[in-house]
Symmetry: C3
Subunit: 138 residues, 3 copies
Amino acid sequence: MAAHTEYLVFNTKDRHEFINITERVRDIVAKSGVKEGLVLVNPMHITAAVYVNDNENGLIEDFEAMLRNLVPPEADYEHNKTGEDNAYAHLWRTLMGHQVTMAVTDGDLDLGPWEQIFYAEFDGQRQKRVLVKVVGDK
Amino acid sequence: MAAHTEYLVFNTKDRHEFINITERVRDIVAKSGVKEGLVLVNPMHITAAVYVNDNENGLIEDFEAMLRNLVPPEADYEHNKTGEDNAYAHLWRTLMGHQVTMAVTDGDLDLGPWEQIFYAEFDGQRQKRVLVKVVGDK
Amino acid sequence: MAAHTEYLVFNTKDRHEFINITERVRDIVAKSGVKEGLVLVNPMHITAAVYVNDNENGLIEDFEAMLRNLVPPEADYEHNKTGEDNAYAHLWRTLMGHQVTMAVTDGDLDLGPWEQIFYAEFDGQRQKRVLVKVVGDK
């Protein structure tokens, strides 16, 4: 079994950003040389999520509107009594599903026609990492 | 390491359906010959989810009622301005957790007493695929 | 490829508990001897979740408050007509993301600075198991 690990680094301009990372993950899969296996894409910070959905800007707005509606950023949170203001970001990333594991088949990401991998940053403007680990057979 | 990939195909009669796919995944695990490893079960379309929970019809109704309450299908969504009417289905599938990775032990799915794997279709009546990938040692 | 499987057992005093299991998972990774691979941490009961987030008590209260707000325990649920009273616990565990797969790098959990693995029990006071499966190369 082969394993290949890389860490994507993000430092977003805005506090909230949705970034399509499909091609970056695809490049890492190619570089790994793995032909058959799995790739884990896991944000290493706990106010960000990695999820799979459509690359459509309206839908991205709908995701943020849903999160604002279900977990309002300006509500009272116990976590914010520690001096933080990002409690909602911890909760949002959990509702988004936080991480994905995708298939590698014939040396490439095995995606459906509209599956795209997104990094969703909910407390940006500082350096964050996303772990990409490919495991499988060359 | 061995890898075995299959694609389940669904074309549901109804727009929303919850289908127990545990035995189909189990059969693929058996066919793979893998004795120790992991199996990824990932819907390849972005308005469907794969999740693990109880095989009880009342609970399935509760899941749909929860989703309707949190993300009403008939609300206004930006995504629907592209001509779609399925924005809510993209959001529902995300709240459901979208995909699962399960253990393969002694050549079988390693499940707790009530763990069952479900395919949840939220925008059906057309052909959809679910990727099942088993990786591990024979 | 090597595989190592263990089952953590919990029998919580309270109905709802959030338990940091990071060190227990780390110990299993060490025991497995796997240097490069993945570790699946999956609750085998369907009213519990495993998730990754901050080890901060205020945030844990925020998680439970969010779940109570989105899916009130005392509401009417179809599942409870079977004689159960835990329908909300099945729904909560799904919103929490239910399971995680983490990376093993250089023989240890490959975690960001605040990533901690939690077991969230929503219907405790009886014996429950969590499957931890490490797969990879020694």
